[in-house]
Amino acid sequence: MAEIALRMGKNPVARAAEVLFRDYLVLVMIAVLVAITAIVEPKFLTERNLTNIIRQFGPLMMVSLGMTFVILGNFIDLSVAGIMNLVAVVAISLIGPWGQVPALLMGLAIGAGCGALNAAAILTSGALTQAEALFLTFGMSTVFSAFALLYSGGVTQHFWETKASKAMFETIGSGTVVGPISASFVIFLVVLVILWVFQTKTTEGRAISLTGGNKTAARLSGIRIKRSIFVIYVVCGLMTALGAIILFSRTTTATPVLGAGFETNAILAVVVGGTTLRGGKGSVLRTVMGVLLLILMSNCLDLIGVSTYLQVVTKGAILILAIWLDNRKQV
């Protein structure tokens, strides 16, 4: 109580500033980043660079939005890299023989299926902690990646290898809808609205947050936590598949290792956005900010000419900062 009183006692401006820095630091960081880069490097605010940024964020955005639900439920999913690999190599290879719509659906189905397998592994082993989920999904990731390698024979596949129509994928990858607004951006908006409604307005979304907030209490008050665990992994798998499809549509090639690194970046984006690793509190909208910050940062650092190796260091620093802030909020 005392702490609350302490906070409420400050004048409104100080309080607003405190809330801004504590809860929306990521927004402040985005603003600072944009301002500095725009001054130092005029190329940053060109239309070309901005559309480039919007194109870039599609795949990571999808994966991170899916990951948000897993982390909300106080679990974690390291298998997204494996899922991306598998979805990409299977979906691209089916465009020729099956046609593009069945290939797309099959890709999504594989994503959801892999998520269901993750959930099944967690539920049957009785793993109820984030740490256990970490190892289990890490194991699943290697399994999915192995299947991707077996299926593709380790070969990179290209769009031009098949003569069948792939107009839909080309639109997803680099098409525009109105003016400079890309198709992938429209997909993002639609998906975001659906996920936001799912998270905040449905009973299942509530059940996921309650499960993440306290599994024992949720279970003892009659919430189906097993179903919540199943749902979060399926949603994450599905969103990961969508991310993989957007990614290979843009690059027009699929390698069996194209998902590498996405798991860490997605977790980074979710946590930096402000969804707590402890589960229960967070939002898909926060994740959007987190992804935006990461993409903007790498874009800015690229423009300024910072080496990729150093960029990894800044990512790590930001993650530590985010977790530090999160822990301060808990006290």
Binding site: M1, T203, R206, G213, L220
Partner: protein, 499 residues
């Protein structure tokens, strides 16, 4: 002041502490004399913990003076206060579970002890001095709560503390362990060490405190020798109003059997069978770990149990999950409010509504207006003290948090209410309100299974009492007609009995 030595070891003079909007301490003055046990009682929020945090250096006082052992004190950190000879043993003990007893006593001071051999030897000496036989090499994780407490006490002694503050030390001790703590406290007294004993339990205050200070709303309302207080006087000083009884009169309209349980067997339970009647409060009495909680968890579907039969209103049912139990009209208030009952990061409202999601949703979509109604209704009905229904439940006092869990179930009004330690760690006033709620439930035709480590509570609230010992039911008693020691004997497994 009548009892205790004459020399004042700790003198708190006009200490105040404000948090913006709240005066947590208002010119508090307490003198603690050498070699006595000084009780501090008060409801939650009375300022006890703020005072302790100032003494230990967690908070800084706004005004007033504190003299400890003849010197002015301006502690700025808990470590500093420990060094000066003032130790605090918190309710949630601060030990490292994965380290040994000896290592915990001298944590961070191995060098001073000349290595691990010295550490263990010195720890042994300290443990022996309070009559604790636990090996110094044992892991703290393997100790019982009372043994852990002894380790904490040794840690305090290792700093040659002159004053030890114990914050609700008995909240998770059994009767036997409590007796041991009392012995230790007496030994400490003989050594000239003063003890500040913070507790909700009046029995303890009367049993071994010499002087007691009553706090209310940030003030010390009275300090007297314990002998000069009557029980009712102490209670009314604490709550600021007169409470006629600690327990409401027992309801008496017990009806037909609503639930029958036949032979529950798990690795901890052996052939547990009993019946529960409509409108009845059935008490389960036994030591911590006797299997009381396991019995109700097995019925509720929270733990796996095999081969047992449950009949609800004469019909056999199989309850596999808590959700299933809920649908059949059974509600559980778990023993650990914070770990098992509440989702602490959520609001009062969400914590109430989480048991009845179906009631405020349609086609899987939440209808906020209905949810708000549920929250407001229970906050009102149970007079939960909270700034608003959207306030985080973690900001509420223990008693009000417990009411939130009760409210969660009241919303779906289960036929059978299982309450596991419903009043643990909450103050007298809030306890009475919980008792009234229990009465309201049974009068409305519900039934309650009550588990409590506070014997007077079970005996005064229950219509019927079952004693549990090592996973078996060892007796059934009418608490109104049976002498307490007979029930205790059965609970300790000394002899069987039936009424």
């Amino acid at each position: 002041m009548a009892a205790g030595g004459s020399e004042v070891i700790l003198s708190i003079r006009d200490v105040s502490k404000s948090f913006p909007g709240v005066k947590a301490l208002d010119r508090v003055s307490i003198d603690v004399r050498r070699g006595i046990v000084h009780g501090i009682v008060g409801e939650n929020g009375a300022g006890k913990s703020t005072l302790m945090k100032i003494l230990s250096g967690v908070y800084q006082k706004d005004g007033g003076t504190i003299e400890f052992d003849g010197a002015h004190v301006e502690h700025t950190s808990p470590h500093e206060s420990m060094q000066s000879g003032l130790a605090i043993i918190y309710q949630e003990l601060n030990l490292v579970n994965t380290m040994s007893v000896g290592e915990n006593v001298f944590l961070g001071r191995f060098k001073e002890m000349k290595g691990m051999r010295g550490t263990h030897a010195k720890a042994r000496e300290l443990l022996d001095s309070i009559g604790c036989k636990v090996p110094t090499t044992r892991l703290v994780a393997d100790l019982s709560v009372s043994e852990k407490q002894m380790v904490e006490i040794c840690k305090a002694l290792s700093f040659s503390s002159k004053l030890i503050i114990m914050d609700e030390p008995s909240s998770s001790l059994t009767g036997e362990e409590m007796a041991q703590l009392v012995t230790i406290i007496r030994q400490l007294k003989e050594k000239g060490i003063s003890i500040i004993y913070i507790s909700h339990k009046l029995d303890e205050i009367f049993q071994f405190c010499d002087v007691v200070s009553v706090m209310r709303d940030g003030r010390v309302v009275d300090t007297k020798a314990v002998a000069e207080f009557t029980r009712n006087e102490l209670i009314s000083k604490m709550v600021g109003r007169t409470i006629e009884n600690e327990y409401p009169p027992r309801p008496h309209s017990v009806g037909d059997v609503v639930m029958e349980v036949r032979s529950i067997n798990t690795h901890k339970l052996h052939d547990v069978s009993f019946t529960l009647h409509k409108g009845e409060i059935l008490g389960l009495v036994g030591l911590v770990g006797a299997g009381r909680t396991e019995i109700v968890r097995a019925i509720y579907g929270a733990d796996k149990a095999r081969g047992h039969e449950v009949l609800l209103g004469g019909k056999p049912v199989v309850i596999r999950t808590p959700r299933h139990a809920k649908e059949l009209g059974i509600g559980l208030i778990p023993e650990d409010r914070k770990l098992q009952g509440l989702v602490l990061i959520f609001s009062v409202e969400s914590n109430i509504s989480m048991g009845s999601i179906r009631k405020f949703s349609r086609f899987g979509f939440i209808r906020r207006s209905l949810e708000k109604g549920i929250g407001a209704r229970q906050v009102e009905a149970l007079s939960i003290k909270t700034p608003s229904a959207r306030t985080g439940v973690s900001n509420l006092s223990g008693g009000n948090q417990q009411k939130v869990i009760v409210g969660r179930w009241m919303e779906i009004s289960p036929q059978i209410f299982i309450m596991d330690e419903p009043t643990r760690g909450i103050d007298v006033g809030a306890k009475y309100e919980i008792y009234l709620l229990m009465k309201r439930i049974v009068e409305a035709g519900g039934s309650i299974i009550l588990i409590s480590s506070e014997l007077p509570e079970v005996l005064n609230m229950s219509n019927r009492v079952l004693t549990v010992f090592e996973g078996r039911i060892t007796g059934e008693f009418d608490p109104e007609k049976t002498p307490v020691d007979e029930i205790m004997k059965a609970a300790l497994g000394l002899e069987g009995g039936a009424a």
